[in-house]
């Protein structure tokens, strides 16, 4: 089983990239949700 470590490395790197990207999207999304809550609170307070 020559080169098996290369294959594993390639698959790991691939999944890692997708995973990190998905996490980053989710994180940005939650920051924006907080921002929306904050802005909405601000707007209702101003009324």
């Amino acid at each position: 089983m020559k080169n098996l470590d290369s294959v594993l490395a390639a698959y790991l790197a691939g999944w890692a990239i997708f995973f990190v990207y998905y996490i980053s999207v989710a994180q940005r999304m939650s920051t924006l949700r907080e921002e929306i809550e904050r802005l909405k609170a601000q707007l209702t307070k101003g009324k």
Binding site: S6, A10, A13
Partner: protein
Amino acid sequence: MLKSALKATILFALIAVTAYLAFYYAPIEKSMGVIQKIFYLHISCAFSAFVAFGTCFYANLRYVFTRAPKSDWLAVSAAEVGLAFISVVLITGPIWAHPVWGIWWTWDARLTLTFVLGLLYVSYLLLRSMIEEPDKRALFSALFGIFAFLDVPLVYFSIRWWRTQHPQPVILGGPGSGLEPRMRVSYLLMWGALTGLLILLLSARYKLEALRASVDDLRREAEVR
């Protein structure tokens, strides 16, 4: 929330199954050995990346003619997701090439095209971050995206005439390029799984962009008061 978590779980299960198939079900290729298994991921990712960039081009064109903000959201999502896929292609490629060709990188047509394509879309995203006003950002980045996509076949042919070393396509290649049936099953499943991943990432990124637009709206409203 639950629905998206469910979708993600199904997709990851699918990916796990395909990885299992690629490793244990598909036979080991005769001339290349076990290293050929990288292809399942590599080729499917390349396909998804091109689909993503094609989607970006379509959204760019649509934006220029309809000026619907939704097209712009789709365009930026597709460009970013395409870049994620293309970086996987660019990383798995050299890992395959090193044991087989003895070098990490060579300036062959398809490799260089992939690299230049990645660079063009990095420029696209950079350009977006450099224009503040949403309408202007959408329009000018869409126009750049159209020009960039038109460049793709030109880059490909110019480098192809210049030099080429990439292995010929085995899936859609000419006669004699047939695939072992178990390999075909693995390819098809991996391709399906990555297309699913493409759709998942695309819709997540699209929702993010929609949220961003509503934050901008709220901000403007807050400023008016």
